[in-house]
């Protein structure tokens, strides 16, 4: 059972476009939602993260929008560049203390291609 559902599987945009990647979850106990970026031959790297007490977070050209009532969150990339071409993963976890907490549940990934 996929804890976090991600779409689309692949996305192609022109340089300067605004790709949007969407994720949905069911477990209302999730309270930490990071996005990871993976380039070929590398491991995923943390890009940006949000907690459910805010509806939006921006870091540079990357924005997370969060809709707690709909249990959805999305990544927007403003003014996309060819260097943004990568695989993007959304994830969710339950924060808090305790040895079993903090495990990340990943979406299946979105392969983004930005054409020059």
């Amino acid at each position: 059972q996929q804890q976090v559902k991600q779409s689309p599987q692949s996305l192609i945009v022109q340089k300067g476009g605004i790709p949007i990647i969407n994720c949905a979850y069911e477990n209302t106990a999730f309270d930490y939602f990071p996005w990871y970026q993976q380039f070929p031959g590398k491991g995923p790297a943390l890009l940006i993260a949000i907690r459910p007490d805010v509806s939006e977070k921006k870091e540079g050209r990357f924005t997370i929008s969060f809709n707690k009532s709909a249990k959805q969150f999305s990544l927007h990339i403003m003014d996309s560049q060819p260097g943004d071409s990568a695989t993007y993963f959304c994830a969710a976890s339950i924060e808090g203390r305790g040895s079993t907490l903090g495990r990340l549940y990943f979406g299946r990934g979105t392969q983004l291609t930005v054409w020059p």
């Binding site: 930490y32 990071p34 990871y36 993976q38 031959g41 590398k42 491991g43 995923p44 790297a45 943390l46 993260a49 695989t87 993963f89 976890s93 924060e95 808090g96 203390r97 040895s99 079993t100 907490l101 903090g102 495990r103 990340l104 990943f106 299946r108 990934g109 392969q111």
Partner: protein
């Protein structure tokens, strides 16, 4: 510099061989994870550890085993490699306290012929 290291980066090995994929981190993280990444990108958790002498199987059934004798070291072993084990293996670690963002290694690409 705090980081997580995986060796080897690439490995081509014959069927039936025993192999160990190494993973070490210098961040003092308690939690460590092994993921198998298929060509379709999806990450499958195969093993995890929440501390020394603690190991658990993940969501994806795997014929591999792991050990955690030292905090910084989390090797993965395949006793008898098969072509179906051909994949990308990623190691990750996270801190004991929030936020629990993972730090990933660069991965080992394993090919069994």
């Amino acid at each position: 510099e705090a980081d997580i290291y995986q060796t080897p980066r690439y490995l081509v090995i014959g069927t039936g061989k025993k192999i160990t994929l190494e993973c070490s981190q210098t961040m003092g993280h308690d939690k460590m994870y092994w993921y198998q990444q298929d060509p379709g990108m999806e990450l499958h958790l195969i093993h995890y550890s929440y501390g020394v002498n603690s190991t658990e199987k993940g969501d994806l059934s795997s014929e591999s085993t792991v050990s955690r004798i030292r905090t910084e070291h989390f090797p993965l072993t395949l006793e008898s490699a098969r072509p179906s084990h051909t994949s990308q293996y990623l190691c990750a670690s996270s801190a004991r306290l929030p936020p629990y963002g993972y730090t990933f290694g660069s991965g080992t690409r394993l090919t069994v012929v």
